[in-house]
Symmetry: D2
Subunit: 496 residues, 4 copies
Amino acid sequence: MTTIGHLINGEIYNDNNRTQDVFNPATGKAEKKVSLASKATVEKAIAAAQEAYPAWRNTPAIKRARVMFKFKELLEQNADKICQLIGQEHGKISHDAAGELQRGIENVEFACGAPELLKGEHSKNVGPNIDSWSEFQPLGVVAGITPFNFPAMVPMWMFPLAIVCGNTFILKPSERDPSSTLYIASLLKEAGLPDGVMNVINGDKEAVDTLLTDQRVKAVSFVGSTPIAEYIYATASANGKRCQALGGAKNHAIVMPDADMDNAVNQLVGAAFGSSGERCMALSVAVAVGDEAGDALVEKMQQAMQSLSVGEYSNANNDFGPVITQAHQDKVVGYISSAAEQGATLVVDGRNPKVEGYEDGFFVGATLIDNVTASMDSYKAEIFGPVLQVIRVKTMEEAMQLINDHEYGNGTCIFTRDGEAARYFSDHIEVGMVGINVPLPVPVAYHSFGGWKRSLFGDLHAYGPDGVRFYTKRKTITQRWPSSGVREGVSFAFPS
Amino acid sequence: MTTIGHLINGEIYNDNNRTQDVFNPATGKAEKKVSLASKATVEKAIAAAQEAYPAWRNTPAIKRARVMFKFKELLEQNADKICQLIGQEHGKISHDAAGELQRGIENVEFACGAPELLKGEHSKNVGPNIDSWSEFQPLGVVAGITPFNFPAMVPMWMFPLAIVCGNTFILKPSERDPSSTLYIASLLKEAGLPDGVMNVINGDKEAVDTLLTDQRVKAVSFVGSTPIAEYIYATASANGKRCQALGGAKNHAIVMPDADMDNAVNQLVGAAFGSSGERCMALSVAVAVGDEAGDALVEKMQQAMQSLSVGEYSNANNDFGPVITQAHQDKVVGYISSAAEQGATLVVDGRNPKVEGYEDGFFVGATLIDNVTASMDSYKAEIFGPVLQVIRVKTMEEAMQLINDHEYGNGTCIFTRDGEAARYFSDHIEVGMVGINVPLPVPVAYHSFGGWKRSLFGDLHAYGPDGVRFYTKRKTITQRWPSSGVREGVSFAFPS
Amino acid sequence: MTTIGHLINGEIYNDNNRTQDVFNPATGKAEKKVSLASKATVEKAIAAAQEAYPAWRNTPAIKRARVMFKFKELLEQNADKICQLIGQEHGKISHDAAGELQRGIENVEFACGAPELLKGEHSKNVGPNIDSWSEFQPLGVVAGITPFNFPAMVPMWMFPLAIVCGNTFILKPSERDPSSTLYIASLLKEAGLPDGVMNVINGDKEAVDTLLTDQRVKAVSFVGSTPIAEYIYATASANGKRCQALGGAKNHAIVMPDADMDNAVNQLVGAAFGSSGERCMALSVAVAVGDEAGDALVEKMQQAMQSLSVGEYSNANNDFGPVITQAHQDKVVGYISSAAEQGATLVVDGRNPKVEGYEDGFFVGATLIDNVTASMDSYKAEIFGPVLQVIRVKTMEEAMQLINDHEYGNGTCIFTRDGEAARYFSDHIEVGMVGINVPLPVPVAYHSFGGWKRSLFGDLHAYGPDGVRFYTKRKTITQRWPSSGVREGVSFAFPS
Amino acid sequence: MTTIGHLINGEIYNDNNRTQDVFNPATGKAEKKVSLASKATVEKAIAAAQEAYPAWRNTPAIKRARVMFKFKELLEQNADKICQLIGQEHGKISHDAAGELQRGIENVEFACGAPELLKGEHSKNVGPNIDSWSEFQPLGVVAGITPFNFPAMVPMWMFPLAIVCGNTFILKPSERDPSSTLYIASLLKEAGLPDGVMNVINGDKEAVDTLLTDQRVKAVSFVGSTPIAEYIYATASANGKRCQALGGAKNHAIVMPDADMDNAVNQLVGAAFGSSGERCMALSVAVAVGDEAGDALVEKMQQAMQSLSVGEYSNANNDFGPVITQAHQDKVVGYISSAAEQGATLVVDGRNPKVEGYEDGFFVGATLIDNVTASMDSYKAEIFGPVLQVIRVKTMEEAMQLINDHEYGNGTCIFTRDGEAARYFSDHIEVGMVGINVPLPVPVAYHSFGGWKRSLFGDLHAYGPDGVRFYTKRKTITQRWPSSGVREGVSFAFPS
């Protein structure tokens, strides 16, 4: 059985530390092992990044950007292989993996604009003959810690931008599905990146804690669940690092009485069940305003869900695949059951899907639950499975209050035709990413990704313009030249 | 004896909690008392700020800015009174206080540009007929905690910008010299600021800890010493707040052999001894490259220092005043003595200045110490007194290594005529604010203030463009309208 | 009878050239005369501006901005006097004049942000150790030529920004109502502006042509009618100047069937008749989509217009005043008559308003014309009077086609509740300033004002960010320092 | 003999209008013909561009940018072929052509950042519940007219940016060397650009005048000589188009007494003689401050020039090639002779170079002329040949006065080590692009290219951020939604 290693200083490295199984969630079988880095291995990576830093920092931004231009080409050329690696370990259907990869590539495209993005601010004559300007300089060695659900995209929210800004990088991807990430990172060398600028460490808490406490690591970007995000943020901050830590979500869509219902249902099906709902932007709660809207929504959803198909990644007819582990499957099923027990209506029950040939896979079918209330366990938690819950309210204010009361504030959406409703909603909702008739309002790569409340810890959002600020620090220079020397001939005698 | 209270919801409030003496450092006598807020009092202020928030947030930025236009007028009209209050409690000479106030006003001027500064980013057609834009929305209730050395300026690094961004504010100024700060804050009401938007709490650790842990406070800006800054940053971060905490400094000037020496000395006198050296940007170490430069520097400094006069704030002929407390006076004198004991040369000794009529004042005279080395206690610590230490090195690289090895990285300066030397220095020095022939490279109000290394904890610098980002959070909205309704007559029948 | 002179180099100057009568349009009587500058007088102003330029250009932006901070105070203190001067010569009611002044002051407020607005772009390491930055430097002497309809506001679209950018200015206001403009300009001296930086020339074509052809004038901003704008633009361009020339308008509002009709009518009354319709953003055509909307609109407009009162400027109960001249009154009346003759329905006829005590004033009453068509003379021309014409169409596309076919493209508006209709309209309408339920979509001072098609000639819009670019030119500096000199001791021997 | 045609709507088109010979300047022989487009042919291209516009305008910016990502790949893959085509018709040595192509590609790289570059400005709450934002929309059909000296680079200053901004384009390249330009344009189709978005018209004045007067063309970018630039600017402006017209240059380098002379000479050789001096940024005048600097400069230049080799494009050992035509060769030689006749010292005479095997080629050797004065014809004119003239002055002020008095203000440079001299120079020199020890200060692609005085007509510089503004127009939208409809249930009854 293959053991997946680390990428340090341009070479694959295996430290014979502990290992962990990597499963194919569609078969339920462990097909590979992944090495879990020791503290020493992580420090080896940090040392490599540290050594590569001075030369990379001094490389002009346009040259750093050209590595990303080439990297984009290589990602596109090797897209099929990447999607296959994602499918085998994460389970998502190839077209979904291709979508993920494309969103990742968009961040590489943004990073290609580094020379423009890194422009500083220049002020002539802040005083008489005194000029001042601010530069945005790299931080040094920075780290990223990423989750299983987007093994290609989320790492590419981080390292392309960090690297074009002049930093060197250490990535600790999820140990559940590390292969696509490692392969992607290896393409950077082919794209011309000097060894040591990008390093990948597979591992668990030992690796993470080393990154969080080593004084050579200047910043940490994290995406994962809220309790871990909170730990990462507090630990990194207490160790003097800058940190952005993105956590969990519970994304609501308000369905207004004037919504284009067919369109809304169409959108909700993809947003709720795509990638088995294992997305931090998955729409997991629909809030119907008025019973007419609620009845129509539930009926049309039920219909639309009949054609959904769950299965193995390589079959393009499937809509979504298994969840990531046996334990997670149990958890999702548990939440569905609890909703039913606590009084909700189980309209479509996905607890026992039949997936022929994959009877041991970690599958959960698309599930629709009506008449959910705010006090149910299934409402409070982030389920991270293919489950859409419907709450019915009487007014838009009531719907908004629900959202504003929830601990998370990642994404949200409203379905309406009304300009005033949309504007009021987007202004007053306490959520960082807002969709108006857009159910998955993930910002494009040239904006930035970030939730509010307990969905993000830190000042700056991920990727986009905020990412540039996160991966650079400001230096302000104020300059006055002393009374003229050579200009007025003080130092040099001119022939008479 | 007057007891200085708090400003809560537009009214002066005194909670009869503990009090502390406020000294006139020139006379050495306690002339007032200041109330130290209880937890309940701080919570009263937080509640006031919380209540004022929704209406203030919804006030158009231009209207918020107009309060600052008026506030600038009032600060200018009342400048003399403010300088007097500063002089009585802090001790700095009136012209120095006027300079401080002016730098504070510059931050108010910058805040007047709020409508421009708060512009978001708008993208048409991020997809077909899909638009996306990012807004910068206020955070809610935010707090500032400020030091004794700039009772007017440092608070104005914070609250004008925080307030024009739509936040409501709680300021905890230094309990050593609170009167000018309180008076300044009271002018905001006259400028038209609604009650509760700006609140001032005098206090000590009890007040600080309440601000750091109350969940209604969304962000904390701090300026003070590094150990406290570190505590503030770790505590605020662990409580889920955004935080910027500015700490100590040890600012070096490199004097190159080609420097315009008269100009350099001129600049150094002000930068080292102005405000008794109680500035986080004070130049406390001169690094002479080559003994010729060193000898010339020491000789000319010695000469220039003869005309310096230390004394009481209201005498405009004085150059600087007392230090802040008896304890601090002892500390400064202790460092001078230790340098002499550890082998440095005490060229000008300010340990026993005579200030007629103010024999009990906390005065230390301007002090020059030559042949200092990196291992001396006086070099390692931030003395925060009128003491300039000279280190002699052989090369510019050696000088830069000294600076890069120091734990602080606030400000630094090079004196040279040479373009290459200046550029190399500014590029490779690990310091956030760099002067080229400018000894106090405090960024102007439209840039941002921030050190590197252990001089600042946080992602974003204080005031200026970074201040705007610190006091706002990004919300990204993605909008698509459903297929045409009214436009194509779906909903409305037109008469035929 | 007073003769109004010029402001040159800080002094009022009268050149005894030709003069012209200045009327009070409410009484119909000439009450003052205005001097019309000779070529020599204009050249005297240019020379003054030229001489003041070098010192003003070198004044730090923050100091230039502080003149504007003070100027704002003075404008607010003298608002009543300014409104009176406007009323006496232009005729607009005092509350309308106050509104105009306020919009002018907003441009002064924007100009106060000069230090931020003038920041250049700085790029570190465009090549190895090569830096490059762009500065925005002033142009030199620039000129503004402004119309009668906003004697306070339109000049303030220009000179505050031009001046804070470091230029010196020559203003040629309208000779119909020059007094308020001249008075406003005179306040700048009190605000601390050095003599010669701001100059005012009253005059006619002789003055204009001197400004357009003198090589010392680097740029011309113009607001007026399209034929003159076209002449100004072609002449200034052929003389090597940069030019922005704003011309005429015909602003349409589309009233959709789902519009909030009461609100729409409310807005239209002000937008069509305010300031007697003598605004380049006046809404002069309402396009009703569907006859239901058309009927409701006409009926409600007719009702709303009953309470409108036309009269003299100082009576605050009046809604609007006279038009500017006898000739213009005749022209407006002529267009009304022609519409009736060409088949339109004259719903409310304002041709013979009775204004007691002001029987010789140039008054036209509020007029509503229904069933107008695109071929009528009254539709093709810019009437610039208190006349609202209604066109009825069947579809929104038809309404938009009308607008896109008109030669002007200044402002437009749609009344609807529907998000999709609003977005489609704003995207596809060939007009520079678009309102969604906002009938006079004049951009705020921190955006920029400009029409499309034959409403503006030039690349950059007026005031706001575009104004900054118009009044500055880019200089790009690329810098590399030769191999180290003083740094490596090439030039200086260090003692061994 | 091949006849080079046009590229219209994705197809090569030959209209059998007039033709003109295309020479190989190294052999002096006409080896191809180029078709000169009739008015009808140009109108066909305009019609194609007009038709392609609506769909291209509506294509999301990121998709437009992806065409440029692919285009960059294709340019790199086909670099050799492009350099060969340039060499055959222009004559520049392959390594020089490769450099030109690389600078062109850098503009394509910049254009890849379109989504970021096209962001508009968004303002929340410009008034209560009123939002306003500015979009930068494309102009429509725009045209570029480019010179012979950079057949690859200068067109790429224009069309990549114009196209990613959403415009459609018509390029009229130089008829002297059209093949590389046409080939480059043809690669866009392979890169995925829809037909009609990019069109190339070969031609002469007939074609140019059609572009300048056709109302469908909205903007014209031009690079060429000043008299033509002036004609283009005046004509395009009078026809209501926006225009930027870049003209001639006379670029001076000041050599200060403290310059690193070896470095300066090294740089000057390339900057004066590279590409035979046929560059609008060529350094054609060296101004030595003081005779010591002058003598050293002339002596070292003379030495350095001995190793220069002029010859045919494909021999990589050659430093530069022939000039473009026989007539131009005669003109350059004539200026050299006139300088000698008018009293200058001909130090190195390049009038009769021997190029074995290419005796009929249009070669001029590297020429150095000392003791030139401002009154000589050779000084006043732009020679555009491999000729460096030396002027000797006594002071830096005198040197700067010379430059500021010249009619052109394109580029300039100073050689010095002194920070103050460099800063004074860059601040006060009336030139748009300034080098400090950089002899060819062509701004990088993410800044903008533009001279001052009679070197550029127009408000905005070419390419970079100014290019984005030139190829877009601002639309400002102000939006207020009427009092709530669906939100408060006015329109929809909720079940009770």
